[in-house]
């Protein structure tokens, strides 16, 4: 009896030096803007991005990753897959311990700011500058079913690698728009605006909410005067102890839970 064993070798093209240098530039905001692409790193994040149907330009990975995750590659053309050596991976990666695989993703924003409806809850971020905080806020928004975040132009950029790291895939389900906040609020005065302000009413005593915008401010300076003047519902999280302030992502979670869970 003759046993016939057939091995199918899938061989991917090796990444070039020029490509490494080119994609590596995407660690900088300037080049992300120019190329309209960003990087996603790490086995878990990459899985989330592929399964969620992100617009992927390249999957760049070491052989072990291609061998271990063939099911993730079903929908991805072989010419979008580039092999990288373990030695070269740190040249492309921005992580201290590079993690097998890097995606080059095309920036696609199908939704427009003008489509934001007053019937849904949205977040508004006024100068949130720490990318880790922005990432955690995007993940929190995704938990509470918030699809849109309206950011001031000086809020951290959504495609910053530290934001991507902290969003855990939620970035693909939440739209971040960057705009002039006072201008937006003046043009959308029909949308209720809620914010954490020291002279507000205790959050837990507040009971009737129509969906609207929840405004969160800068880590140390809070909400700007121009935005503050346009807030209709001034609320605060009662402080029992002595901390000077709450982390902005924690405060966002508390507001979302109190306003949205109560209504749903």
């Amino acid at each position: 009896m003759i046993h016939l064993l057939i091995f199918v070798f899938m061989s991917y093209q090796l990444i070039s030096n020029i490509q490494i240098k080119h994609f590596r530039s995407l660690h900088q905001q300037k080049f992300r803007k120019e190329q309209q692409q960003y990087l996603v790193e790490g086995v878990k994040n990459v899985e989330e991005w592929i399964l969620e149907g992100a617009d992927i330009e390249y999957v760049i990975a070491i052989k072990e990753w291609f061998d271990a995750y063939p099911h993730l590659l079903k929908e991805i053309d072989a010419d979008k897959c580039l092999l990288i050596s373990e030695k070269d991976l740190p040249r492309l990666s921005g992580m201290k311990n590079p993690n097998q695989v890097v995606l080059v993703v095309n920036i696609t924003q199908s939704k427009k700011l003008s489509e934001i409806k007053s019937s849904n809850w949205s977040l508004m971020l006024d100068r949130v500058q720490d990318p880790g905080n922005l990432g955690t806020i995007i993940r929190t928004a995704d938990w509470f079913g918030i699809e849109n975040i309206i950011c001031s132009n000086d809020t951290a950029e959504q495609y910053n690698p530290k934001v991507i790291q902290a969003t855990m895939g939620s970035l693909l389900r939440v739209n971040c728009f960057y705009t002039d906040l006072p201008e937006f609020l003046k043009q959308n005065s029909n949308i209720p605006v809620y914010a954490a302000l020291l002279d507000g009413s205790p959050l837990m005593e507040y009971n009737s909410f129509s969906p609207g915008l929840i405004v969160m401010g800068n880590e140390s300076k809070g909400i700007s005067e121009e935005v503050k003047a346009l807030v209709q519902h001034r609320l605060f999280i009662p402080r029992i102890g002595k901390a000077e302030s709450l982390n902005v992502a924690v405060a966002t979670g508390i507001f979302c839970n109190a306003l949205i869970s109560k209504n749903s």
Copy 2:
């Protein structure tokens, strides 16, 4: 007429090379444990630590800092102040952009775990591993007047520089105890135990709380089976969107606000 100008020069001893090497070792947990000391960096944190009356062994700063903050040094002996050159500061600092001043602080824990009262709210952390998350949780606890956090032995160490950075001074007002959690719960079965578990009741519908322990679990694995078995009040934060989970510090904030603000 003769004008007499008197300048008072306060000159501090210059730090030695041996001292830099010695204090620098405190960036490692092993040496913090051995020396029972830890470092605090950054102008704002240092101010918090001094004003809160921490047990300070040394204030190590560049001349500009000593000149700018004489009021912070009123209670500190001159022989505890060491001058460091701007050139040498990065050798001592763990920060990318070293920030004028570093404190060497003595670890003092006056409170004992056995003093925890069932009449106060406390937090229990089961394997929270990210130091940034632990720091943010300590700051959140301080906001809600929680004085004690009971940590599993494998939770991040409270004196890790990244914890210090995220606590914003709250570390001095909140005690972290490290112990075997199932053992502690068995010995203190009179204390009500609340936790976020998928099969729980919605947090916002839950109304009567006696103060107790709020348990938070590991970032990816959640609460361990042994601890889970000892939870009396199973609760959950309703998920409206699609995020797989909430950040553990955000979830802690939501629990504290819902359980503690409602009762106070």
